[in-house]
Amino acid sequence: MVTEHRQDLSWMIGGPQGSGVNSTAELYAKVLTRLGYYVFSNIEYHSNIKGKHSYFRVRAANYPVRSHTEEVDLLVALDEETLFGDFYKTYPSHRGHARDVKPGGMVVYDSGEIGEAKSLLEEYDVRTYGFPFLEVLNEALDTIGKGGQGKKYNIMNNTVAYGASMGLLGLDFDEVERSVRDGFKKKPKVADMNVVVARYAYEYMQERHGHEVPPLFGSPGLSDRIMIKGTQAVGMAKFRAGCGFQSYYPISPATDESVYLEQHQDQYLMTIMQTEDEVSAINMAVAAAHGGVRSSTSTSGPGFALMPEGMGFASITEAPGPVVCIYQRGGPSTGIPTRTEQGDLRMAIHAGQGDYPLIVLAPGDIEEYFYDTHEIFNLCDKYQIPAIMLYDKYLASSYVSSARFDESRLQVDRGSRYMPGTPNYQRYQFDGSVVSPRAIPGQEGGIFWTSTDEHQEDGHITEGTGNRLAMMHKRMSKLELILKHYPGEKQVRVFGDPSADTAIISWGSNKGAILDILEAEESVLPQAVRFIQVRLMHPFPTRALRKALEGAESVICVEQNWSAQLAGLVQEHTEIHVDSKVLKFDGRPFSYEEMVLGLTEAMTRPRDRIVISDNGIRDEATWGRQEVQELLREKKQRPKQKPTSVPLPPGYNR
């Protein structure tokens, strides 16, 4: 087999929310997945329904990719803001993405809509493919007897752009058509119309410019791949694990998971409750767990902030669960609701009053989202404790191409259960085993009481000192048991050169960019490194981490939060100093380039805080303010810009 040179293509579509940015990108990613490429995508959007700027990056490659890149090969712009930023606003916030296009890269845009700012494109060394979307749409509609109705159907602008960009790349139109039909599965008539429009735009672009663009590099021919995002991987794991109960209160970016579950609940018999608030959500899930059903609730930071009381409840009553899924987003408070962060680690491990046992696990890629979520249900049953899964917005909403999961690896262990006929059964008996057999309401002979008050072996309340010590010991011993039984290589994972002097510690979604760096064809970092991915966040894997850090001379910790939450834990538990912290808390995930930048800086100029934002190393005290001022200055010098408008659905257009 000939090893092909590594190649990848970064495609980006941007436009106002509600104009089909997401759906178009999903179609594109699906086509590339079906054509056998490795695909990784990333979506950025505002907390808004219609109008604000969103963009979706899809990276396709002939080698495994797990991160997005700053540089774009082909930009599809549905509006002017996508190209040049939001200078039409009183306080502009970004400069658009024309500047992200590689030298020699391509830009497809609507020349009919983009006004005076068009001249700005000349500043960039890019190939431009502007054409009037509305005219092309009208011409396409003309072929099915709906000529001149483009304005009415301008919701299909995204299909025009999609078809045109696929024509430019010369990708197989049959696949394009298939993707469009998939996108409108339940509306065959709408699908037909979109296929006509996509084909017209495809041919329009191919005839005019197809010859200018060399065919896309060959795919590695991966077969039987799926295109999946984090929330779906979690949902699949829940179904497979036999989670029968899910409660949730709508919140970005967690809701996608519950909606996905609802779409399939009948096949897997999962009862799903949209609750009045997160307090209710966790309480229902705790009760369902006591009721004998595997249960879960999904939320993000603000929602979990309402749940600590329920965590303590689950833990002191030794419920087998629930599994609480936190899709982290930028805090504090409402924060930046649709942007990513890893700022909830401390809240997760310290949630609630008093000392109580719980497990906190942080998976770092789509496979881990699936396998860890499946396994956490076993751990909850085995130790009769609640658990938190720390995901983040980045991977939750990133579509990646993936092989199917290996289900033969999966097992279900529901832990120690009450055997009917056991004489003098007591739910919390001190028999030295830490975890007592649990009865399920409805079982004859299994009647027990439980209380959020401190309780004795039969579950009734007591405040006696002897019982208090015994019960605290019984519950808290679970943490040591977990550290003993949960394999060390699952607590922390080591990649790269395990004996390298430099150790990178990180967690969660940063794993992708770091692994891409480790696997680069030519070394991109100044030093050889070992990369330690901390996965078990609580109880803290002190022994495993110490072992992984043995002999390391310098330690770098990479996190997406302000206070280096993991680095603090590392220092507290291992007493090993973290030399440099590479931090990002601007709500955007580390791109490949940003990760290279941060790690290189930490290796060449080690220091306490290295803050990364917008593909640069930033002085957090001054840079942000300067940037805000700079944007305001630029606004004055720029040609006038047109505010973005969103097409309305049919029935709303006049």
């Binding site: 799926i226 699949m236 399939h264 309480n283 369902a288 009721g291 249960s295 309401p441 009647i447």
Partner: protein
């Protein structure tokens, strides 16, 4: 079928409620109702909140969950949905249900889950030594309160009605037999049933005493309490498809609910209607649940093939 006696529902532990507490009446009422209905103790789950009434779950021989302050409804909901064969009874105080748990109380009515919620209503937070609860009247001051309440009280029956409870009743703790009868009706009712039980608190509530309820403080000695059905009142909707009847019964219930403010305290069933329960709605979505409750379903390791298909 084995017969059950009241003692079969009594847990053998020391009860630490104050002597003369109205809680005893409600506890006995629940135990009598369970015996009357002949429900096997292990098929009953008692979900309680926090406060004096929260301890009730410990005193009943049944699966007992002494949960969190205000969280009776969500816990009852999770338990019932895990196993719809269980008889699930929520118990908690007025502060628990109408105050800190107010949002859950409302949602509990909207969902129409088949469960029973018995509220121990003594107008105060007793376990913390007698602060005003949401049901104490404006301008009222018990001996435990430093000042009179300046808030409007909640009317539990009216609140339950607007929230969508399909069985709404009120009782009086010291009339144990009547309370037992009402609770048994509530348990039998398919849907969300709330029983607001007025109770005395000898420790802190010196306003609403046994004497007060019985009207012995009045010159004419006329009891404030009376039974709705004895006046010919019928709160049951006989044709649930008849919107007119529903409206008529709701209006009558509201009128009766507010007699409280006129110094009269009707007890009995204010409103009852048979509407589709949450469990019945879930059966429409998931017909396979019909065979047995969720907890007994084999839902582990089902094939993910259909999901892969959709993603490939």
């Amino acid at each position: 079928m084995p017969e059950y006696k009241i003692k079969d529902y009594k847990a053998t532990i020391h009860n630490d409620w104050c002597p003369g507490c109205g809680d005893f009446g409600i506890l006995s009422g629940i135990q009598m109702a369970l015996a009357d209905l002949g429900l096997p103790p292990h098929e009953v789950a008692i979900i309680s909140g926090i406060g004096c009434s929260g301890k009730a779950s410990h005193y009943i021989q049944a699966y007992g969950f002494h949960t969190l302050h205000g969280r009776v409804v969500p816990n009852a909901t999770g338990m019932k949905l895990a196993n719809h064969d269980l008889t699930v009874i929520g118990v908690g105080g007025d502060g628990d249900g109408y105050g800190i748990g107010g949002g859950h109380f409302v949602a509990g009515g909207r969902r129409n889950l088949d469960f029973t919620y018995v509220i121990f209503n003594n107008d105060i937070y007793a376990l913390t030594k007698g602060q005003a609860s949401p049901t104490i009247g404006k301008g009222q001051r018990t001996k435990s309160m430093p000042e009179a309440s300046i808030y409007e009280p909640i009317n539990p029956v009216a609140l339950a009605l607007s929230a969508g409870y399909s069985f709404i009743a009120r009782s009086y703790a010291l009339d144990v037999r009547y309370t037992a009868r009402i609770i048994a009706e509530a348990i039998k009712h398919p849907g969300s049933a709330v029983v607001d039980v007025h109770q005395t608190c000898p420790a802190f509530n010196n306003l609403h005493t046994k004497t007060w309820y019985e009207g012995l403080d009045r010159e004419e000695k006329e009891p404030r309490l009376y039974k709705l059905e004895e006046t010919g009142y019928d709160g049951t909707v006989h044709d649930p498809d008849d919107q007119g009847e529903i409206m008529e019964k709701k209006t009558a219930a509201i009128r009766k609910a507010y007699e409280l403010e006129e110094g009269r305290l009707p007890i009995g069933v204010f409103y009852r209607v048979r509407t589709k329960t949450l469990e019945e709605h879930l059966l429409d979505k998931m017909p396979d649940l019909a065979g047995q409750p969720l907890v007994h379903q084999d839902i582990y390791q089902r094939s993910l093939e259909p999901l892969y298909q959709e993603l490939s």
